[in-house]
């Protein structure tokens, strides 16, 4: 197996595309730290309310509408959790894909699948948060 010779030129060459890639990688690296720190209270409080203070046995349609989504504040809270957890989680999954999948076509296919899933999840969640009724119908 021959290893291509790396020259200093490879490290100093700056193309517009390479700069954009570096900027994007740096942005997401920072995003993962900041969103991660923010998600600690967001997710922990969410879990405490849904899994500890309330139990799955008490949760139903009526509970969601009456005790949670009747308040705009909780909808905003859930929207923050949805967007930050979605972006953080799918970006994390992309890191895992890039670590293990080196076949360019498979890597590209999985990247597209992750992006489509992320957009679908954000759209579904956002539409539900905006559209759900503030009180029980009828």
């Amino acid at each position: 197996m021959t290893v291509p010779k790396t020259t200093a030129h490879d490290f100093t060459r700056r193309t517009t595309a390479a700069r954009a890639t570096n900027r994007s990688a740096t942005f997401w690296w920072r995003f993962m730290r900041w969103s991660g720190v923010l998600l600690i209270p967001l997710a922990f409080i969410h879990l405490a309310i849904v899994h500890l203070i309330t139990s799955v046995a008490e949760i139903n349609y009526q509970w969601v509408i009456e005790t949670r989504w009747s308040l705009l504040g909780w909808r905003l809270y859930d929207a923050f959790l949805l967007w930050f957890a979605g972006l953080h989680g799918y970006r994390g999954a992309l890191y895992v894909v890039n670590d293990y999948v080196h076949n360019p076509r498979l890597n590209r296919a999985l990247t597209i699948i992750l992006a489509v899933l992320l957009i679908a999840i954000l759209a579904l969640g956002s539409i539900a948060l905006i559209g759900a009724p503030f009180e029980l119908p009828g």
């Binding site: 730290r33 991660g36 720190v37 998600l39 600690i40 997710a43 922990f44 879990l47 899994h51 500890l52 139990s55 799955v56 046995a57 949760i59 139903n60 349609y61 969601v64 509408i65 989504w69 949805l82 957890a85 979605g86 989680g89 799918y90 994390g92 999954a93 895992v96 670590d99 293990y100 999948v101 080196h102 076949n103 899933l117 999840i121 579904l124 969640g125 539409i127 539900a128 559209g131 759900a132």
Partner: protein, 129 residues
Amino acid sequence: MSTLVTTVRDLFRYRGAVGQLAWIGHRLAGLGTLLFFTLHVVDTSWVYFWPEGYEHAIALYRHPVFFVGELLLVAAVIYHGVNGLRVALMDWQPRLWHYEQQMTLGVFALTALLYLPAAFIMIRHLVTA
């Protein structure tokens, strides 16, 4: 894919000590949480799109299999959060790298400390339900 094989095989062979355990745990906990998050957003969106379906989905979550899933999910989120805070702190203050081993053991301890009461409460929910 060969890197995946290496990761799995060397999990038991490479002597990366607690740092490597923390890393693989972070990755598994993150992926597991992402899987649940994705399903959970879909079922919660049914509150708007399909209320009857939402009741069915929640009934499914009350099944014992999902109770085990709930126990695992809460453990995964607590660990991923506490360990992620360590990573963010160490990236922010590189002098903390000198204490990586101690901080990682601290992460394991804090995770257990937070998880034990949470697991206790969830098991009590199951018993009293």
